[in-house]
Symmetry: C2
Subunit: 369 residues, 2 copies
């Protein structure tokens, strides 16, 4: 019988995720499957949680990978922390902010969205004004907007909420492992991420962490969480000391995430962040030398997700197709209002290396000339 | 830094899942990660869907793996097909029936549960009587109750519902790949499974299929599905011709499932089912020769999940611990009312081999003597 897996080529993944996976993580994901309640697997789970806490700069007990992709992390945060009628403020400046609004609305939240230009950051003064007008049970923002390449001022927004009853929810899908995330210092109550961006692990798990305040909000719910699979109280019992059977954790994906976190901590987080920044600067320099213009103003650029305007007269899709077929490089196109107008060039995790930047710049030069 | 992955031993997985994984599937899961919208990955997705249809004996267009474990499949079926107030009948004779009731209740369904003895099958006459009394929007049952080792008469229950407006929902987590599942012939409208049982793939994906009738029920909803991540309409667009970005599919898990399905179809489904049955009979013979008694009456026994009473005076947990530590074999204990009283011995997928049955019987003999 035909086996398409035999024809898989190695592609340099410089799109918006997944990113290229290091050999140690491929090795990890293929280790022998253990029972999901096997004592040795429980040790791996415990050490994984501890390493996730280190990377998130948090002491939160509830710090676990959710058994789904980054989007399941978003769903898990909202479905546990929102009750029908709760007032939620979503800060929107890209696709993932729009998605947050949709997820929260479906759960019956009373949602206000504060919208900002795609490609520009959330304006803290506007948020402060809005918070002065209305009390919110939850405020949510995306740290690294994968659709635009913008870093939002998560720390400054957190400072506005300090000491309030408001739950502060942050999407760190694309930021975690590429730039600093300081969950406790920034006053973040609930956070989720994904494995396939700067953690350089295949997609499939969503790291998630809840503060004591988030756990208290969850504990005070009037109704059961309307999602058994993502009920954090049940998941906490499964990943906690009691090991109460809930679902079957994706064992081999858990190995992969364990290994991916280990590689980051072994290299050293500051070195990893500097590697992202250095390669980002190298990429921007190369793009600008070609006459291309970046979408985002310099202070708000994400090192791991670089957006650049496609020059007039160039067929952006044709360039991406040529990069993929001739040079075995994947980059991304624009989404929403930016579709057809920009390229999204990822430098995430293992992908963020000088040789990859040079290989890409050379290929792009040939593809647009 | 300490790396626990280096210490993973190969354990013979004879519990209630995950099952042991064949070498080709380990190889598949470690193949190079492609972009989740890469044209080559899309080909793999399409062929996977086609093979899943073959195994399910269905023509349903909407036949995909959901990006979560089997429990996410359950959640996806209910959250898409139940609207608040819908009358649902859940047939309960084990943990997974209880779970269905809980999932449906949280979603606001008006749930009736028809309960049967744990270890006995659902009685079709009782179901017929209940259906005669009350019209239901949805009837749900577990094909292979992993908690008790019972096969429920899914085909006969389906016959009761034929021609009605009722949606017939079936859990095939443990049955799929071990015994026949004939989705279309049995009148099943919605079905989910898991990868880590008889498909012998690591846990992490949930095969799911919806009939045209289920899709029509979904299309006629008055309210949006209160779960963005598991919204089948959005997932159908992602896995369909349009490839509308929804979430990022777990690429490497998808490779593993593709390979696992290929192995089953290459061996031939009838041969695979016979292998399960033959090894089950060999196991039962061996257990009975040791004087042990099976929990389930012969006609309702599952070949892939064998429940046996722990003899008086034997510490069931101590036996399981000894099997794991001394013989590197995992089996399961009982759940709910059967906790501490039974063992659950899995013969799922790649695990269902003569040498494994013999190795286990020998180890059990030594562990209880």
């Amino acid at each position: 019988m035909n086996n398409l897996l035999d024809g898989i080529e190695e592609v340099l993944l410089m799109g918006p995720g997944p990113s290229s996976v290091p050999p140690q993580v491929y090795e990890a994901i293929g280790k022998k499957t253990l029972g999901h309640l096997d004592p040795y697997f429980l040790k791996i789970m415990d050490e994984l949680k501890e390493r996730l806490r280190t990377l998130l700069n948090t002491k939160n007990n509830l710090t676990v990978p959710i058994s789904g992709t980054g989007s399941a992390g978003m769903e898990a945060c909202f479905v546990n922390l929102v009750e029908p009628g709760d007032r939620a403020l979503i800060l929107v400046n890209g696709v993932f902010g729009v998605r947050m609004r949709e997820v929260a609305s479906r759960l019956g939240a009373n949602v206000d969205a504060l919208e900002f230009t795609w490609g520009a950051p959330v304006a803290v003064a506007d948020v402060a004004k809005k918070l002065g007008e209305t009390p919110y049970r939850i405020v949510a923002v995306v740290h690294a907007e994968t659709s635009t390449g913008v870093r939002n001022p998560v720390d400054e927004i957190g400072a506005l909420l300090r000491g309030s009853d408001t739950i502060y929810l942050v999407d760190t899908v694309t930021s975690l492992g590429g730039i600093e995330v300081r969950m406790d210092d920034w006053g973040i109550d609930a956070l989720y991420s994904g494995t396939q961006k700067c953690l350089s692990c295949p997609p499939g798990l969503a790291p998630l962490s809840f503060s004591e305040k988030a756990m208290a909000k969850l504990g005070a719910r009037k109704s059961k969480v309307p999602n058994w699979y993502l009920d954090i109280s049940l998941i906490a019992n499964y990943w906690g000391q009691n090991r109460v059977y809930h679902h079957t954790a994706p064992v081999n994906m858990t190995y992969a995430l364990y290994q991916a976190l280990l590689l980051i901590l072994e290299e050293g987080t500051q070195k990893v962040f500097k590697r992202h920044l250095d390669n980002h600067l190298l990429l921007v320099k190369g793009l600008e030398e070609m006459g291309l213009k970046m979408v985002v103003e310099e202070p708000w650029r994400l090192p791991m997700l670089n957006t650049v305007w496609c020059p007039e007269g160039i067929d952006e899709l044709a360039v991406r197709r040529r990069l993929r077929s001739e040079f075995k490089i994947e980059i991304g196109g624009g989404l929403g209002p930016l579709a057809g107008k920009i390229w999204r060039i990822g430098l995430m995790g293992h992908t963020a290396r000088k040789e990859n930047v040079e290989r890409f710049l050379d290929a792009l030069r040939k593809s647009i000339s």
